[in-house]
Amino acid sequence: MPGVTAAETERDEPSAAAPPGESRWRRYVPWGLGILLLLAMLGLQSQLYVGQERTVSAIFMFVALAQGWNLIGGFTGYACFGQVVFFGLGGYTTAVAMTHWGMNFWPMLLISGVVAALFGALIGLPLLRLKGHYFAIATLGVAEGMREVVTNLTDLTGGGSGITIPTVGEEATTTYLGNDGFYLLFLGLAAFSVLVGGLVSRNKFGFALRAINQDEEAAGSMGINTTRAKVAAFSLSGFVTGLVGATYAFQQAVIFPERLFDVDITVLMVVMVVIGGSGTVLGPLLGAVVLQFLSEYLRQNFTSAHTFILGAIIIVAVVLLPQGAVNYVREARRTGNYSLLANVRRYRL
């Protein structure tokens, strides 16, 4: 009996394959829910203590990061393990401009995103020719290399000792946003990233990315300019990540290369997307929220062992739900098979 094993099928968001009448309803519900969620988060702010506000801001930050990674890693299927390079590039562009050239934060926010996007296009052209592990490691190499470069350009970036953005006094170019301000800004970035993800997912471009993900050779034969699409996706993901990096740099005010180019940030992004469900819009959102909560909870209650437990959780999650929570639920509802045990067998040898 013919039939491909479930292992090979990567279930993605359904495109408008349903008849027009029905799809209108299904189309607008997610946007509506998204707006409600946004309003809820705005309202939440007044209910939170300072510490909680910072925690939630961090969650928003990771939502945006996860959504950004999802564009290249989830939709297109090119697992970038150097995504933090955009984060650091955005952060340092803003920091250097604000500290040495007296620039205001707001234009720099946009410019940092653009710089990161351009960098993405630049390295994307040679690197996106690589596949699988090669691409993952090449991007990792770029990120690590960039960290070293930044560490060495001491005059510009302060090198290993870091750079401090002036936030008070005469030298400060922009009023420091404070906890409340950053909460809103990160929320805005999170909303923006979800918007971008949603738009890409539902339009012609996203369709091309998914085709490339599922069979790049066939996609090329059918008229998709795979080079252009991949580079565009990579640039876009770099743009989103760069915006977040710029905001983070301003928030922290004191930044170091080890932090802004920390490989653990990339890994967190990847874990969030994979556990939540790669290639979906809801997945990265869910994954970011859950994992950040978990990470914060562990950090506060098991300070010494929290990384250990995090590692164990990652292992368990990856084994039980390799396709991510959202994809698992969608498939289970479609096939009626909710067995986790069967899910574990999905990818086993």
Binding site: V4, R11, A16, P20, K204, F207, E217, N225
Partner: protein
């Protein structure tokens, strides 16, 4: 000289020490079906890949509709009006059959931008190949014959002027071959040029206007099907004496 849709001149490809395809020159005009036969490893698939831009030639030229498209990328070739099927079918496994075909409508020469229009057009193409009823299924659930039809439909979604079919009949039952032949005939009538790479001689005989024989990367001979299939060199290199005797005895097996 009638305008050839596809013309190759001295086309060749080398892999390290192996000359996989060597000095292939021929042309196919519109409304003609060219059969391509030859033993395995003779270079037929490499040849197709050279035409469709999946591999770059080391020598020679590929001209499509008179325009030099040597070494062009596969999407440029698709936009020039050339479509192909893959020997081992390559559907987009995460999409429905209908969406698979819609990709070509959206990104091929018709460059459709509206999803709904693309899906409607996809349904039309599926109707043409006979699997419209399977539109909502995932490709993984299709039988071999239907999966081949999906490959066909994906190629047709590009509104091609030239169609390259890479062993579409392999493994099909006799009852499944005839509809495919019908389809090829109807495409020919519409003015497409079709190149059919096959091992199933019955199919080659049934639809080809000309036949090209590949052997060890080179064109051994070419001509109309009956002549070529009776050529002693072709029998020696590929068909075998038993087949030749069977044909002499009558009927076309």
């Amino acid at each position: 000289m009638s305008a050839a849709l596809l013309e190759t001149r001295g086309l060749g490809r080398r892999f390290g020490g192996l000359q996989a395809v060597s000095d292939v020159s021929f042309s196919v005009p519109a409304g003609q079906v060219l059969g391509v036969i030859g033993p395995n490893g003779a270079g037929k698939s490499t040849f197709i890949n050279l035409v469709t831009g999946h591999i770059k030639p080391t020598t020679g030229k590929v001209l499509i509709d008179g325009k030099d498209m040597t070494g062009a990328r596969p999407w440029a070739i698709a936009h020039a009006g050339v479509a192909r099927t893959f020997q081992i079918v390559k559907p987009f496994r995460g999409m429905t059959v209908r969406e698979n075909v819609a990709v070509g409508v959206l990104y091929g020469p018709s460059d459709q931008n509206r999803m709904s229009t693309a899906l409607t057009r996809a349904d039309e193409v599926l109707e043409e190949v006979g699997i419209a009823h399977l539109g909502a299924r995932p490709p993984g659930e299709l039988s071999v014959a239907d999966a081949r039809r999906l490959e066909f439909a994906k190629a047709l979604s590009l509104n091609p002027k030239l169609l390259l079919l890479d062993e579409v009949m392999a493994g099909l039952r006799h009852s499944e071959i005839e509809p495919s032949l019908e389809l090829i005939r109807s495409l020919k009538e519409r003015g497409l040029a079709v190149i059919v790479v096959e091992h199933v001689m019955k199919a080659i005989l049934a639809v080809s206007d000309q036949v090209l024989v590949f052997h060890q990367g080179e064109v051994l001979t070419s001509g109309d099907s009956r002549t070529v299939l009776s050529d002693p060199r072709v029998i020696e290199a590929y068909l075998g004496q038993r087949y030749a005797k069977r044909r002499e005895g009558g009927g076309d097996a």
